[in-house]
């Protein structure tokens, strides 16, 4: 789990009492530009902002009489409040002003990383643990109360939705995926079918889980939509592995994460044991 959160500023675009309303299209343009840079922006047009202050420093932007931004202090003295007049400034100048105010404090920014990870729809999940055994990268784990959960977001391989394709309950979503139902779109129950594909990762050892699944899926093919296909899932997992091996520029730690056949066997045993333990605990409770 990535836990670093760099959010040095809360930007407030202020058009309330004491400020001069901005030109009609200006607020949306400024907000869009700042959001695309990774900032969170509050629009305060009338009365108090919708959300209370938190521990971030505040940068209040507005057009003020005589182009003079008022000085404001946090009554509790916990955060720093900067105010800036933006009268007559173009959008890019306002963005520059915000960036300058932030200075060299780090911030999470779009474009450097894609938030790609599975999201479980617990209203559908039956806790079958198939995802736990299918994923080779330890994205899934079991909670203290024996429920499947996503434990290692950052282990997930970007653009690989393979586990979602084989989830028998269509309970795994990737919100950044293009097509439904993997992206969270409504589920066509008839198309999804109720085929309970059970994938045994240990088959990788004996040989060809890909062929085995292909054979198995052939019978059920008509019952699956094109987005929910075990063939596709396995192809993607293959591609993921191939890319890791074939790309000469991958970091050593990523290369090291590629399971060897022995490691796959070990993972299969561990996953099977964890799933069995969790399910046994549930049955006993």
């Amino acid at each position: 789990m990535i836990t670093h959160i760099h959010r040095p500023l809360r930007v407030v675009l202020y058009e309330g009492q004491g400020a001069i309303p901005l030109h009609a299209e200006a607020p949306a343009k400024v907000m869009a530009a700042l959001l695309d840079k990774g900032y969170a922006v509050t629009r305060a047009a009338n009365g108090a902002p919708a959300m209370p202050h938190d521990d971030r420093n505040l940068l209040l932007l507005g057009s003020f009489p005589e182009q003079k931004a008022p000085e404001i202090e946090d009554a509790e003295g916990q955060i720093k409040i900067d105010t800036r007049d933006i009268t007559g400034l173009a959008t890019e100048d306002i963005v520059s002003l915000v960036e300058k105010t932030r200075g060299d404090k780090p911030m999470n920014e779009p474009g450097k990383w894609k938030p790609w990870f599975p999201v479980i729809d617990y209203s559908r999940c039956t806790n079958c643990m198939q995802c736990l055994s299918f994923c080779l990268f330890d994205v899934y784990g079991v909670s203290e109360d024996n429920k499947i959960q996503v434990q290692n977001n950052d282990n997930c391989k970007t653009n690989c939705p393979a586990c979602s394709r084989v989830c028998p309950e269509v309970a795994i979503m990737f919100p950044k995926y293009q097509a439904g139902p993997i992206n969270g779109d409504e589920i066509n129950e008839a198309e999804a079918g109720r085929e309970k594909i059970k994938v045994d990762i240990s088959s990788l050892l004996g040989g060809d889980i890909y062929s085995a699944l292909k054979d198995r899926s052939a019978a059920a093919k008509s019952r699956f939509g094109k987005e929910r296909s075990p063939d596709k899932a396995l192809d993607e997992r293959k591609k993921c592995l191939t890319k890791l091996v074939g790309d000469g520029f991958i970091p050593a730690d990523v290369l090291a994460s590629l399971p060897s056949p022995d490691e796959i066997l070990r993972k299969a045993e561990v996953a099977k044991a964890r799933a069995a333990t969790a399910l046994a605990n549930i049955a006993a409770s």
Binding site: M1, I2, T3, H4, I5, R7, A24, E25, P27, A28, M31, A32, L35, D36, K37, G38, Y39, A40, V41, T42, R43, A44, A45, N46, G47, A48, P49, A50, M51, P52, D54, N108, P110, G111, W113, K114, P115, F117, V119, I120, D121, Y122, Q149, V150, N153, D154, M173, P175, K176, Y177, Q178, G180, N183, G184, D185, E186
Partner: protein, 120 residues
């Protein structure tokens, strides 16, 4: 805006281009034109991935209306971040609803159907 007004939240989906830019730009413009207070975030997925504590503050709003993407996904993101949305939170979908429809529901005086019923 009176205190009983819903909290309005707009997600820009800035970390991946899966929400049509025309729709998200128009929703933002219409919210600004309406002269209301609202909150915006760069990307709810990014926040959920990092378990951003601001998600908790948002999920605790008594009446929350979110312009983002598929309600099932948004609900799952909050839940997975350990801060499930309240039952009366409404999620409007910029991936398959029009901007006019979304902003109409965001600004509606009457209660908006909660997440499960607001999918279209």
């Amino acid at each position: 805006m009176p205190d009983s007004s819903p909290t309005l939240l707009y997600c820009r989906c800035a970390y991946a281009q899966v929400v049509p830019s025309g729709v998200k730009n128009e929703v933002l413009q219409r919210l600004c034109d309406a002269g209301v207070n609202f909150e915006t975030v760069s990307d709810l997925c990014e926040m959920a991935a990092h378990r951003d504590p601001r998600l908790a503050a948002l999920s605790q709003c008594s009446s929350l209306r979110i312009a983002a993407c598929y309600p099932r996904a948004v609900k799952g993101l909050f839940q997975q971040a350990g801060t499930p949305l309240s039952a009366n939170a409404a999620v409007l979908n910029m991936r398959n609803q029009t901007a006019e429809d979304i902003v109409g529901q965001m600004l509606a005086l009457e209660p908006v159907p909660p997440t499960e019923e607001s999918q279209s």
